[in-house]
C-alpha cells in the first residue's frame, strides 16, 4: 500500500468513527423525544432523587430499558436465581420460588436489623448469608458481577415502589450512628457528607452537579463513569476518596449504618434500580 493510500485509509477510519459517534448520539436523541414522560414521581415532599440532577441524556438512558446497560445485570441475576450452587444443592428458587412474587418489595426495607447478628444487614449481606447458611455455598465478593447481578435483579423487582426502611426499635441506635457519620467531618478536606449534599445540593462542583445524596432507591446503579453497575458502598468509597478520607471496605458496619441513613433520606422515593448516573 502506498503512503497516500495509507493516509486516505486513516482518514476513512476517522470519518467512520465520527459517523458512528453521530449515530450513537442520534439514537439517544430519538429515545429522549419518545420517552420524555412524567418526572414528578422523582420528587416526594421536596425530596429529589438523583435522577433530577442528571443530564437529560443520562435520564433518557434510564428511561429506556433497552439502552440501560444495567439491564444486562438484571438478566444475569434472573439466570443466577435459578442456578443451583453450593453443597446443599439449592438455588435461590428452591426456597423462594418465583422471584417476581417473593422478592417484590424486599429491596425497599433493607438494611434492616437482624436479631441474630445484633446489627444491621443490607441486601448484599443478606444474599451472602443465604448463600453460606442455606445453600452452603461460598459468599460472593462485593462489586463482582454475581453479587451485583443478584442485588440488581432483586432491586429491579421492586421498581417503582417507595423506599420504606425502619429506623425505630432496635434499628434506632444504628440509625443514629449512620446520621453521625453523615454529619461528621472527615478526611484532609475536612468535609462531611452534609457539606456537599445538604448545604450545596443543586450547585456545581466543577463540572458536576451535586445531588441531594438521596441515592437510596437507585443503587446498584449503572454509572457511566464506571461503565458498569456498582453498589452504593462503592459510591460511598468514591465520595470518601474525593474528600481525601480513608475509605472503609464495602460491607463495613460504618457504611451499612450510613446506608440506612441515606435510604431513610430517600424515603418515599421510587426504587429506580438499575438507575443510570453519570
Amino acid at each position: 500500500m502506498s503512503t497516500k493510500n495509507a493516509y486516505m485509509d486513516t482518514i476513512g477510519r476517522k470519518l467512520a468513527a465520527l459517523a458512528a459517534g453521530f449515530l450513537l448520539t442520534a439514537g439517544l436523541a430519538a429515545s429522549t423525544a419518545a420517552l420524555a414522560g412524567d418526572k414528578s414521581k422523582y420528587e416526594v415532599d421536596g425530596r429529589k432523587s438523583g435522577y433530577l440532577y442528571s443530564n437529560p441524556e443520562t435520564q433518557a438512558i434510564e428511561d429506556d430499558d433497552f439502552a440501560n446497560g444495567g439491564m444486562l445485570w438484571v438478566e444475569k441475576g434472573a439466570e443466577l436465581w435459578k442456578k443451583v450452587d453450593g453443597k446443599a444443592g439449592k438455588s435461590c428458587a428452591s426456597c423462594h420460588g418465583d422471584a417476581e412474587k417473593s422478592m417484590k418489595g424486599v429491596y425497599t426495607v433493607y438494611p434492616k436489623y437482624v436479631k441474630k447478628l445484633g446489627k444491621l444487614e443490607n441486601l448484599e449481606q443478606r444474599i451472602n448469608r443465604c448463600r453460606t447458611e442455606k445453600m452452603k455455598a461460598k459468599p460472593w465478593k462485593w462489586d463482582k458481577d454475581n453479587l451485583l447481578a443478584m442485588a440488581t435483579y432483586i432491586g429491579y423487582l421492586s421498581r417503582g415502589m417507595p423506599m420504606n426502611v425502619k429506623i425505630d426499635g432496635p434499628a434506632a441506635p444504628f440509625f443514629e450512628k449512620g446520621k453521625e457519620f453523615f454529619f461528621k467531618r472527615r478526611g484532609q478536606l475536612d468535609m462531611s457528607c452534609k457539606h456537599c449534599h445538604i448545604d450545596n445540593a443543586g450547585k456545581h462542583i466543577r463540572a458536576d452537579l451535586l445531588s441531594e445524596g438521596r441515592g437510596g432507591g437507585a443503587f446498584p446503579a449503572y454509572r457511566l463513569k464506571w461503565q458498569k453497575v456498582g453498589s452504593l458502598h462503592r459510591r460511598f468509597k468514591g465520595c470518601n476518596k474525593n474528600i481525601r478520607a480513608q475509605p472503609y471496605k464495602q460491607g463495613a458496619d460504618e457504611y451499612v449504618n450510613l446506608e440506612l441513613f441515606v435510604k431513610w433520606r430517600s424515603r418515599g422515593l421510587p426504587v429506580e434500580v438499575p438507575a443510570v448516573r453519570r
Binding site: A20, G21, L23, L24, G27, F66, G69, Q227
Partner: protein, 107 residues
C-alpha cells in the same frame, strides 16, 4: 464477548423507516488505562467492526475506535420494502464474532 440485545419492530408497512436498537456487553478496553497495582498498561481490546445485514445485504456498518464506551449501544434506521431477516455482527479485535438475528414482517 457478552450477550447481544437487538430491538427490531415485528411488523411494518412497506416503505416505512424503522429504528433498530442494538446493545452488546463488552468491556471495550481502550488500551490507555493502567493496572493500578502493577502500573502496566492494560492491552487494548475493543469491538472494531459492526455490520448489519438485511436479507443478506449489508446496509449499515461502522468501524469503532478506542473512544467508544463499554457495553456499546448503537441505534440506526432502515427503510423496509419487503419481509425479511436481519443479521447483526460484532467483530472483536481478537477475532471473536457475535451475531444476533431478528426478522420483520412487512405488509
Amino acid at each position: 464477548m457478552g450477550k447481544a440485545r437487538v430491538k427490531v419492530p415485528k411488523t411494518a408497512k412497506a416503505g416505512d423507516i424503522i429504528t433498530i436498537k442494538t446493545l452488546i456487553k463488552h468491556k471495550m478496553e481502550s488500551g490507555n488505562r493502567k493496572d493500578k497495582k502493577t502500573g502496566k498498561k492494560i492491552p487494548r481490546h475493543i469491538i472494531d467492526k459492526f455490520t448489519a445485514k438485511y436479507n443478506g445485504e449489508v446496509f449499515f456498518s461502522s468501524d469503532w475506535e478506542g473512544g467508544v464506551s463499554a457495553n456499546p449501544y448503537c441505534a440506526f434506521t432502515c427503510r423496509v420494502d419487503k419481509s425479511g431477516d436481519f443479521e447483526f455482527t460484532w467483530h472483536d479485535e481478537k477475532g471473536e464474532v457475535t451475531t444476533a438475528k431478528a426478522s420483520i414482517t412487512v405488509s
